[in-house]
Symmetry: C2
Subunit: 394 residues, 2 copies
């Protein structure tokens, strides 16, 4: 299998992001328009400058028409991409390839979901539940397996384990309290997190991300054109996505302390970006904290922590805003909810703000290399996406 | 708006296609495996040689997992693309951009639909019917408007008009009678077509394409690598897709004798491919004959016939296998049905066979340039896709 790269071939020149939350007064179309026009203004382009677009949505629309209609685009190409929880990220990835190929000069990648209208119910409409494709257990249940497996393997008693998970939730809510676009903008006490009602043992409500609506958008050009538009382009160093064959649960040695797709996606991304020591070389990361144990496992799958050391790095604050590798500085899925098509682009939006120095109370000290990560599916079969982006050409 | 091109940058080196039909004894997974392994064998590659894949499906799966599971791929990237009836074509288009960008060396584009399991019902599950996004009339009804509008504008009386439409259906069924992969492999008499029960006036059952299951697949590499794999690569000259803003039905001058998205897609494709006289320069075309008047309108929208002349070209046999520009030589949607994600790749499969001289009783005399066309949506708002492919580098 070849691992090539479009490293430094394309750049983001403008982004937009709605506030995430329960937008009862807005449609998916409204959210798309808000995010797109913020991105157009940010990039200093007119809507008519866009040559082609990629729409990421899982439940809030069908086909390119779901974007060309609300934006009233002038018969340009629009592709809908869907890839579970990596939907928005994969829309961005395909848009980047199209620009890198030379087919287009300026493109829009945008993601949206109106989960408060659809719920997650659409997911089970298209294939019968129980045919093996889509798990017939809930998302919290499937990810809850990670926690006791990790605790047992690395010798944490249940109370210690709950404390580690609570610190992850606390960190992300703290970061979200500094973010005017987050769904939840408040600090939640460790006690409230640990005591929260159980959803799927040992996960409480506060170990789970919420349900929200939102949209986020990026304008992408080839790197050599980027400085025509902005002083602060964000260059794409690596794009990877791994889709699992789904044989994990059939294997005796699948122990629920690692998600194989994460490791494959990370290996490919680091090779593309030339990263050999992710903990040192990456300055900040936005990862898929759908549930607190997911974030814990991700630290290790992505090489931020050695195996079995992630929980110690949590307790010593490594991934906090003041740590050596801040993770989810914007508040993560924990503070934003997870409107599926929007999440990946929301993560990139935070990196774009951080690189520009526009992250307000969350601003880090001059970060230069960032990572985004999504995963969709279950721990034993998922798609795992990673982008590495940077402030400068290398 | 820039119209750039990846002309001659990528090539198809192998393809596969299931028989289309009512596959009650097969799942979507079975069809994917059959099409993919035919393509692997045709290209002379191992499944493990594939670097990344694009899956086109509208109703028969979610996310990349719907392909990585059945094919048991080794954690490679898999993207699901959905774009109404251009779903399979747009999966192919995105796969081509990724190869052209240099990100991958060998990729798979594959499309599938098990319509006999799902029906079209999934379409209305995700957005409420009547919100303007998805029309609250049936597909035959929305396309039926084309026929009387065309007849009136160009002075055909209803009987003449029905005869023209019937000749299109007759041609496609005749071609399908020569194709072992078609759903329907029989000649249907003009009388049976004209007399078929009305579905939506003036369209009878035999003016409509059927409902079927199927899958089709392509292996794509950069053009400079193509001859390592095959003596007969098929080179991509142009890829275009136009998504409409949906304001057609609001305009007084929208007269239902042209589909604007077709014209935009054609203009872009011809510019990319350097085609100035499509009727002369294109040797064969596979177009989206969802209903007979759609094919009639397409002749004119794509410049195969002058405005108002398409019906005369039908009557004089221009688009038959023996005509100067054979259209739907494989039998079209009329003979294959329209398993949504599969159709665009099924069209490319016919061109691939024709270029290799492997089209059996349908074989044309050494065709060199071909076109595929899909449209999805309604005459007043759709996505329209066009590819131009060729036997040789230009």
């Amino acid at each position: 299998m070849a691992v090539n790269s479009i490293r430094d071939k394309v750049a983001v020149i403008g982004m937009g992001c709605t506030r995430f939350g329960e937008h009862w007064d807005k449609s998916a179309d409204d959210l798309l328009i808000e995010a797109a026009y913020e991105a157009f203004a940010d990039a200093g382009i007119e809507p008519s400058d866009v040559d082609a677009a990629w729409l990421g949505t899982q439940l809030s629309g069908f086909a390119g028409i779901s974007l060309s209609g609300p934006l009233k685009t002038n018969f340009i190409p629009v592709t809908r991409v869907e890839n579970y929880c990596a939907t928005g990220s994969d829309a961005f990835r395909n848009a980047c390839y199209a620009v890198a190929s030379g087919a287009y000069d300026i493109v829009l990648a945008i993601g949206v979901e109106k989960l408060k209208d659809s719920g997650y119910s659409g997911l089970s409409n298209l294939r019968p539940v129980g045919d093996g494709t889509f798990p017939d257990i809930t998302a919290p249940a499937s990810f809850s397996f990670l926690a006791p497996a990790y605790f047992k393997k690395y010798g944490l008693d249940p109370a210690q384990g709950k404390e580690v998970l609570a610190k992850i939730a606390y960190k992300n809510h703290y970061n979200g309290s500094l973010n005017p676009k987050a769904q939840y903008q408040r600090i939640v006490s460790l006690e409230d997190i640990v005591q929260s009602p159980i959803v799927s043992e040992p996960l409480g409500v506060m170990d789970c991300s919420g349900v929200s609506d939102g949209a986020a958008a990026a304008i992408i050009v080839r790197s050599e054109d980027a400085h025509k538009y902005t002083k602060n382009p964000m260059f794409v160093k690596a794009l990877s996505i791994a889709a699992g064959p789904g044989d994990g649960q059939l294997q005796q040695n699948f122990d629920f302390t690692s998600i194989r797709e994460n490791a494959y996606a990370a290996a490919s991304a680091y090779k593309q970006a030339g990263i050999t020591n992710p903990r040192k070389e990456i300055d900040l990361a936005e990862v898929h904290d759908c549930f607190t144990p997911t974030e814990l496992i991700i630290y290790e799958d992505l090489g931020f922590s050695e195996r079995g050391q992630g929980w110690k790095d949590v307790l010593n604050g490594s991934f906090e805003l003041t740590g050596d590798l801040p993770v989810n500085p914007d508040g993560g899925l924990k503070s934003f909810g997870h409107p599926i098509g929007a999440s990946g682009l929301r993560m990139l939006y935070e990196l774009f703000l951080q690189f520009k120095g526009d992250a307000g109370g969350r601003q880090l000290n001059n970060p230069k290399i960032g990572l985004t990560h999504n995963l969709g599916g279950t721990p034993w079969q998922c798609v795992s996406f990673i982008s590495v982006v940077g402030k400068f050409l290398s």
